[in-house]
């Protein structure tokens, strides 16, 4: 497979693609037509279960639409270089390593715009189309470290980097070197982008299932991949829980007065049979001694307790007592709507 870059004068961007013997320039009109066609057609497809509605959208926003969300200048910094667009295949050519994070969600593509001013560190804005607000929120929760700001739907700033999510977008704005002047410009650029994204997106319903007492809000993680789960809380090198693009999960951390934090994992599958299979596998591999009861005091003296309800699997790790774990699960059960 060849890596290619096509400058599209009409769109004013450089499209980075991976393909063999494909003249993207020639195909672009057909591609855009297909996208428009899908917009029209997709209303009829999105009739599945409500909570999967957003990430079953196959639409990808047009490049013009993405471009319109980024300003041409901020303070005295101007967008001089061509914009670049990367998709799921070419993301590694732009982002080394962390590309996997975006691919672990339903990432569609990213528009990157560089702002320059002679003698000053450059600013870079990356606008990620995550396909749905759930995935935009999810990728934001992957790294929540930093000073919280009132920008977008949630935002943090640290070390010259501003990250926020709004609607189906995850936005990163950073300065190649942090100075008081670049910090001001980064925040201003963020506000400009925020103002151009007109809609807000809903939080994933799964997050609303989390009991609030003792919850550390800034450590809630929403994801679909067991790699992301393991990044935040290692469970197993093999996916025991049936995670994937059609599954959603939330990991929450609670301080409840004991020495260790308690972790609550809530997973929702597309079908209840998948939940049952995941629960069975988790019991067999992780809690074989529990003989299917889903309750066990593990080697560190804490309790791991799980239950399923319909399509939802709930597991508490590191509870100081069995009762503490059961109480947390019971609170989740009460919040789950009857399915």
């Amino acid at each position: 497979m060849e890596l290619g870059k096509v400058k599209d004068k009409t769109l004013g961007v450089r499209l980075v693609y991976r393909a063999k013997n494909i003249d993207l320039k020639k195909r672009l009109p057909f591609f855009l037509a297909a996208v428009v066609g899908f917009f029209v057609f997709s209303g009829g497809i999105m009739s599945g279960k409500e909570e999967f509605k957003s990430h079953r959208q196959e639409d990808t926003l047009g490049i013009e639409e993405l471009k319109s969300l980024l300003p041409e200048e901020v303070a005295s910094w101007k967008a001089l270089a061509e914009d670049e667009v990367y998709d799921r295949e070419t993301i590694f050519d732009y982002i080394d390593g962390a590309g996997e994070v975006y691919r672990a969600y339903n990432f569609r593509r990213v528009l990157a715009r560089r702002f320059e001013q002679p003698g000053k560190p450059a600013l870079v804005a990356d606008l990620f189309d995550m396909g749905s607000s759930a995935d935009a929120f999810g990728v934001f929760t992957h790294d929540r470290e930093g000073e919280k700001l009132d920008l977008g739907q949630m935002a943090v700033y640290k070390g010259g980097l501003l990250s926020f999510w709004k609607d189906r977008f995850f936005v990163s704005v950073y300065a190649e070197e942090e100075t008081p002047e670049t910090r001001k410009a980064v925040l201003e650029l963020g506000r400009l982008i925020d103002s151009r994204i007109k809609n807000k997106g809903p939080l994933p319903e799964l997050v609303s299932f989390l009991p609030e007492e003792g919850l550390i809000q800034d450590e809630v993680r929403y994801f679909r991949s067991h790699h992301i789960l393991n990044y935040h809380f290692f469970v197993s090198d093999e996916d025991l829980l049936g995670l994937g693009p059609e599954t959603e999960a939330v990991l929450a951390k609670y301080w409840r007065g004991s020495k260790k934090p308690v972790f609550l994992l809530v997973v929702r599958h597309a079908e209840s049979c998948l939940t049952e299979a995941a629960w069975k596998k988790f019991n067999q591999v992780y809690l074989p001694e529990s003989k299917g009861s889903g309750q066990l005091k593990t080697e560190d003296g804490t309790w791991t307790v799980g239950q399923i309800q319909g399509r939802v699997l709930m597991i508490v790790f590191q509870a100081s007592t069995k009762e503490e774990a059961e109480e947390l699960i019971e609170k989740v059960r009460r919040k789950i709507k009857a399915e």
């Binding site: 497979m1 590694f92 982002i95 080394d96 390593g97 962390a98 996997e100 994070v101 975006y102 691919r103 990356d126 990620f128 790294d143 470290e145 930093g146 640290k158 070390g159 010259g160 980097l161 990250s163 990163s172 950073y174 190649e176 070197e177 942090e178 790699h227 393991n230 990044y231 290692f234 469970v235 197993s236 090198d237 093999e238 025991l240 591999v285 992780y286 593990t298 080697e299 560190d300 790790f317």
Partner: protein, 303 residues
């Protein structure tokens, strides 16, 4: 069914001193790092030279060629026991070799051009003509020199890495596979396998983990902020990539502890380094199996 999955409970058992049936744990802890050595590797320690010079960077952070040349010359002489740099290099590279210098082009922290230039000049000092020396990163599979290479030199910056925990000498060879993303599972656990592919097996003569301005903490999509680099002014040089990486890891971890004021393990864990020893037998990761020779500037050396 394949091997038994490794779970969190295996780590809890290991921490509690209980037997872990059948599982070979990634050596993430001191306890795990004292696992069984690979047969045949028990007797010989891996030699690693850590050399530092605070003058390698000028006032605005640019690299001084003459200093990096001096550092590298001293490092290879120490590694090989040779009395002169050319003699040392001639122990590593033969005149009839075709040499690929595997660099790293990551824009925020690439392999320094000054180091690439030094390596090319010393390879030429071994009698290798310029047209049999190639320098590349992402294009190695299609590079005519790399396709014919009989010797490889591996040079890359040491840094934290969002997916594998650490950007390592081991990981630098991921460009020798056509689809690198296929090696990303379990935080790139089995990267060392790449070193046994025909394109690279047995060809690597030297590994250089560049620790001039290492990145000890990554943020954001690009996993970079200059705020989390520091002028360590070091090079880690070894014929064993695993030993070089394990040494670099110790430096990064020590810097994180110093900066954050607490133990802040790399996330995700760079267990591919330890699995390179325990699962793949590529080299030595455990400190007790590494002979670390420290040269030059000692202040703030961290290991």
């Amino acid at each position: 069914m394949g091997r038994k999955p490794i779970t969190r409970r295996d780590f809890l058992k290991a921490a509690a001193g209980l037997p872990v049936a059948g599982a070979i744990l990634p050596a993430l802890t001191k306890a795990a790092s004292s696992g069984q050595p690979v047969p045949g590797t028990e007797l010989k320690k891996a030699k690693v030279v850590l050399i530092r010079d605070k003058d390698v960077l000028d006032d605005i952070g640019h690299i001084r060629y003459e200093v990096i040349e001096r550092m590298m010359d001293q490092a290879v002489c120490t590694l090989t026991g040779a009395s002169s740099p050319v003699e040392a290099w001639r122990q590593l590279i033969k005149a009839d070799d075709t040499v690929g210098i595997k660099s790293n082009v990551w824009s925020y922290l690439p392999t320094p051009k000054e180091l690439e230039e030094y390596l090319k000049r010393r390879v030429m000092d071994c009698g290798v003509p310029e047209d049999r020396i190639g320098i590349s990163d992402r294009g190695v599979l299609k590079h005519p020199i790399f396709q014919k290479a009989t010797a490889l030199i591996n040079a890359r910056p040491g840094r934290t890495h969002h997916w594998s925990g650490m950007g390592t000498c081991i990981k630098n060879y991921i460009m020798f596979v056509p689809r690198p993303a296929e090696w990303h599972s379990d935080s790139c656990a089995d990267l060392a396998k790449i070193w046994f592919l025909p394109e690279v097996k047995g060809k690597t003569r030297l590994n250089i983990l560049v620790m001039l301005t290492p990145l000890f903490h990554g943020i954001g999509p690009h996993h970079f902020s200059k705020q989390y680099t520091w002028p360590y002014c070091g090079l880690v040089v070894s014929q064993d990539p695993v030993a070089a990486d394990a040494t670099g890891l110790r430096i990064l971890q020590a810097k994180r502890k110093e900066y954050f004021g607490e133990e802040r393990p790399l996330q995700p864990t760079p267990h591919h380094i330890f699995l390179a020893e325990t699962r793949h037998g590529l080299g030595m990761a455990s400190p007790e199996k590494i002979e670390l020779i420290k040269l030059g500037w000692q202040e703030g050396i961290l290991v």
